[in-house]
Symmetry: C2
Subunit: 135 residues, 2 copies
């Protein structure tokens, strides 16, 4: 709770700080949250948490992602230093993706969020049912 309050203060502060930038929404916290909110980043991180994977291996395990989005999301993760890309000079060149130390460190706090989500889903669904019934 205390940590939460502190975090809230920092969060709001940074957010406001970014708001004063105006030109670009370069709030560092928002920056991270955008990745978490996008459709594929966290899914890929979670798949890579199990160990390094090749491009098409990921593609097969996540059938509903397009090649374009897989490439693009991996690039973004690589750019942010969460994922490392390694090319092997085999006959048909193969590429391996693995989480970096930084990438692995995300799994812990993100895991807490997922745990919260899973625990809270019943309450949320109940609240929604009540809300929708009254409208």
């Amino acid at each position: 709770m205390q940590t939460g309050q502190d975090a809230a203060a920092i969060f709001v502060e940074r957010w406001n700080e970014a708001a004063s930038f105006e030109q670009t929404g370069t709030c560092p916290v928002r920056n991270v949250l955008d990745k978490i909110g996008d459709k594929w980043s966290m899914l890929i991180v979670m798949y890579l948490a199990a160990g390094p994977k090749r491009f098409n291996q990921l593609h097969r395990e996540i059938p509903d992602i397009s090649q374009k989005m897989l490439t693009q999301t991996l690039r973004d993760l690589q750019r942010d230093g969460l994922v490392a890309r390694q090319v092997f000079d085999t006959k048909p060149p193969s590429v391996e993706y693995r989480l970096t130390t930084l990438g692995h460190s995300l799994i812990v706090p993100f895991g807490h969020l997922i745990d919260w989500a899973n625990q809270s889903i019943p309450s949320i669904n109940k609240a929604r049912a009540v809300f929708d019934a009254a409208s």
Copy 2:
């Protein structure tokens, strides 16, 4: 780490489960992540963490949100049971928003994420600089 791995497994499982639905993206975990990823939900939760606030009070404290989005986001949070709305029958009717118990419980895991983000920003920026230099 262990918790993280477990969370990852549950996450991926649920995600896939939702993928099998096909018709609607009703993955419960994605459902929660969408709120966290959207532009205003978490900012409002963080502002309300400090205590109950009135509509226009929030609007003044977050100047760059539109009335439309403030109303809409508050409604969504209310529907999910994260925020409670209380109407006072004063001469110009006033409305107060406060976090529910469920809403407060989000602050803890979300705070971990923010902490991670703040701690990791230097690494991320460095990684970006390196990546951008090599392209």
